[in-house]
């Protein structure tokens, strides 16, 4: 009991000082396509970023891309890599090195004019990479 | 002081107690003899509330104990030193002793009782911060007795305290039993070692196959020919 009470007090104390929600912030959306980069478990991904509301491409951002396995929360830590901006407006390229085949949540962190995180759920297999659809069954372990 | 009457306890369909009655007199040592499987442990566990009887009653100075939880029964003043599961092995000797005083709130009195236990059992004092599981068999038995005493019981139940101990240690345990009784503790002692029991007990009950088949004083016990042959004729190991 005491544990919980202490915990609550600590959270309250810690979060009280944080700034309030800044609404009307720009939110991003991402379209991600990946292909095998030749090496096993290495993939080249192209990320197209756009303003979620207006659809306008988002360029000039610092983009880093990590990945997490939803079926093993917190237990895989794929080192996030910087994506390089392409000539095409709003397009960024990145090479991902994963630890196993299966469904990964590709985690795209944006910095710069827009600070946001976009998650893209993809299934990485030996040869190809597909979007994970709710109906397409699940693959983890 | 403690009256058990017509107690029936079952394990599934097996009737381990088939109507057991016995009386434990205040301030005395009552000894329960009987072969393995007679139902002695079952009786002790039923009195302590761990097992629920089918029928019968257990009264402590007239107050019914059947139906109470083990915790309530402890608070009424019954402490059991169970067979084979003596101590909390991963806890220190001191913590084991404190466990016995779990229901008490009188901190200073508890501390005084701890000192009394350490005085009576010097081995425990030396090893007070040691984990109980690392004690020898005899020391664990003493710790179990000391822990039971920490609850300041009105009746102390002991289930085969000499089980598996070397003869010298058994003698030591019986010295303690006798000393505790001199201090006024009422005891119900389960024992297979009738020779030892004869030296300390005031009243005997013999249990066989879930029934009490004999009761009497040490004198009567020693005279009974059947018992002579079964329990006193050949010395049992352990």
């Amino acid at each position: 009991m005491r544990t919980i009470v202490c915990m609550l007090v600590a959270v309250a104390a810690l979060t009280a000082g944080y700034p309030q929600a800044a609404h009307g912030q720009v939110r991003a959306k991402a379209a991600v396509t990946c292909v095998s980069a030749g090496q096993v478990l290495e993939y080249d991904c192209t990320i197209r970023l756009a303003n979620a509301r207006s659809g306008e491409p988002l360029s000039g951002l610092t983009v880093s891309v990590g990945a997490d396995m939803p079926s093993m929360p917190g237990m895989h830590n794929v080192r996030a890599v910087k994506a390089t901006e392409q000539a095409e407006k709003g397009a960024y390229k990145v090479r991902l090195e994963l630890e196993m085949h299966g469904d990964w949540a590709v985690q795209i962190d944006l910095r710069g004019a827009v600070r946001d995180r976009v998650i893209s759920m993809l299934r990485f297999e030996e040869a190809d990479v597909t979007d994970v659809k709710p109906s397409s069954g699940r693959r983890g372990h | 002081m403690l009256d058990v009457s017509e107690l029936v306890t079952t394990y599934g369909k097996i009737e381990a107690l088939k109507g057991v009655s016995l009386h434990v007199a205040g301030g005395k040592i009552t000894c329960l003899l009987g072969p393995n499987g007679a139902g002695k442990t079952t009786l002790m566990m039923t009195i302590a509330g761990i097992l629920r009887p089918r029928r019968g009653s257990i009264k402590l100075e007239g107050a019914e104990l059947v139906g109470l939880s083990p915790a309530k029964i402890v608070s009424r003043g019954i402490a059991l030193v169970p067979e084979n599961r003596l101590v909390f092995p991963e806890m220190s000797v001191r913590e084991n002793l404190l466990a016995g005083a779990y229901q008490r709130r009188d901190k200073s009195e508890i501390a005084a009782d701890m000192e009394r236990m350490y005085a009576r059992f010097p081995q425990l004092k030396e090893r007070r911060e040691q984990l109980a599981g690392t004690l020898s068999g005899g020391e664990q038995q003493m710790l179990a007795v000391a822990r039971a005493l920490m609850s300041r019981p009105r009746v102390l139940l002991m289930d085969e305290p000499s089980l598996g101990l070397a003869p010298l240690i058994v003698a030591e345990i019986f010295d303690i039993v006798a000393a505790l009784n001199r201090d006024g503790t009422t005891m119900l002692l389960v024992e297979q070692n009738a020779h030892m029991a004869l030296k300390v007990a005031h009243q005997f009950f013999l249990m066989e196959q879930g029934r009490v088949t004999f009761q009497g004083t040490p004198g009567q016990l020693a005279e009974d020919e059947v018992i002579q042959r079964a329990y006193l004729g050949t010395r049992r190991a352990g």
């Binding site: 600590a10 800044a22 009307g24 093993m72 | 779990y102």
Partner: protein, 309 residues
């Protein structure tokens, strides 16, 4: 601080809560394969509170903990009467049931023109509190560790307290504990409730750390791991399960050599430890020995100071 390190440490911190949750139940002698259910409940409840209802984070996480504790208590009352393996199987069944319920759970509201909320197997995305409030990942990590430190301090107090001793007694021998006059069932339910709250806090933090959760995040995999952390790290102290997490998430994970074989190594490690050190690396014996060394070392200098009590 390196982003990668921040992310690894944040993960370790969050998983530690589930590990501590399973550890608390292990202390009372119960093996639960279902703590991931409370992690899930905490994640969804806290996520809904902040992302859908606009609550502050602290309140959201507290709410998650409360819901987790309530669910754990109501599960504990009927199941803790079960013995050993039956209890374990009941917790597993419950966790799978919770996961399936979340697969069916759809409840979204419109926020800034976007649907936000749990959406069945697609999960619950856009738990964007830390982005909406411009909380840096480093600061969020500090929040996780502050809460973990407070929780650990709570455990340290618990271990020295009467309640902690009672939990240990029940864990070592429930019958012997009830012979000391302890109402075993009541304390087991209490432990289950605290454990549920802890797992739920972990879940709430996790949801905000990653910004999304989905039902399969709460697969039995997580439950088995969190159980294993206590068994590897040791049951002698609350630092044991943390050591387990660090070994798995920190060590095995970061050594790239093991990639792909990690599960096998992890499984082998658990098996070896169960054989050679059934109560883990930091078991009671080691903790007791260290404690005695420590006491002996300082007794000379502190005895005079403490004498006045």
């Amino acid at each position: 601080m390196d982003d990668y390190l921040v992310s690894v440490l944040s993960n370790i911190g969050v998983i530690s809560f589930v590990a501590l949750s399973a550890y608390l139940l292990l202390l009372t002698g119960e093996i639960s394969f279902g703590q991931q259910a409370f992690f899930a409940i905490g994640a969804y409840a806290a996520g809904m509170a902040t992302a859908m209802w606009g609550w502050p984070l602290a309140l959201g996480i507290a709410w998650g903990a409360a819901v987790g504790a309530a669910c754990a208590v109501s599960l504990g009352i009927p199941t803790l009467r079960l013995r050993g393996l039956q209890f374990s199987i009941a917790t597993l069944a419950f966790a799978e049931m919770v996961r399936i319920l979340f697969e069916l759970f759809r409840y979204q509201v419109d926020i800034d023109g976007e649907p936000v909320g749990p959406n069945g197997t697609d999960g619950f995305r856009s738990i964007r509190y830390i982005f909406d409030h411009n909380i840096e990942t480093f600061d969020f990590m500090m929040l996780i560790y502050t809460m973990l430190a407070v929780t650990l301090a709570g455990f340290m107090l618990l271990e020295r307290s009467r309640l902690g001793v009672i939990f240990r007694m029940i864990g070592e021998d429930a019958t012997l504990a009830s012979l000391q006059g302890i109402a075993v069932a009541r304390y087991k339910v209490l432990a289950a409730g605290i454990a549920g709250a802890l797992a739920a806090v972990g879940g709430g933090l996790y949801a905000h750390l990653t910004t999304y959760v989905e039902p399969r995040t709460f697969d039995v995999m997580l439950g088995v791991h969190s159980l294993a952390y206590g068994l590897i790290g040791g049951l002698g102290t609350a630092l044991g399960p943390l050591l387990g997490v660090v070994i798995d998430v920190g060590l095995l994970e970061s050594v790239r050599l093991f990639a792909g074989y990690r599960m096998i190594i992890f499984g082998g490690l658990v098996a070896l430890l169960l054989i050679f050190r059934p109560r883990g690396l930091l078991d009671e014996r080691l903790v007791n020995r260290i404690g005695r060394l420590f006491r002996n070392a300082i007794s000379g200098s502190t005895r005079t100071g403490r004498g006045s009590r």
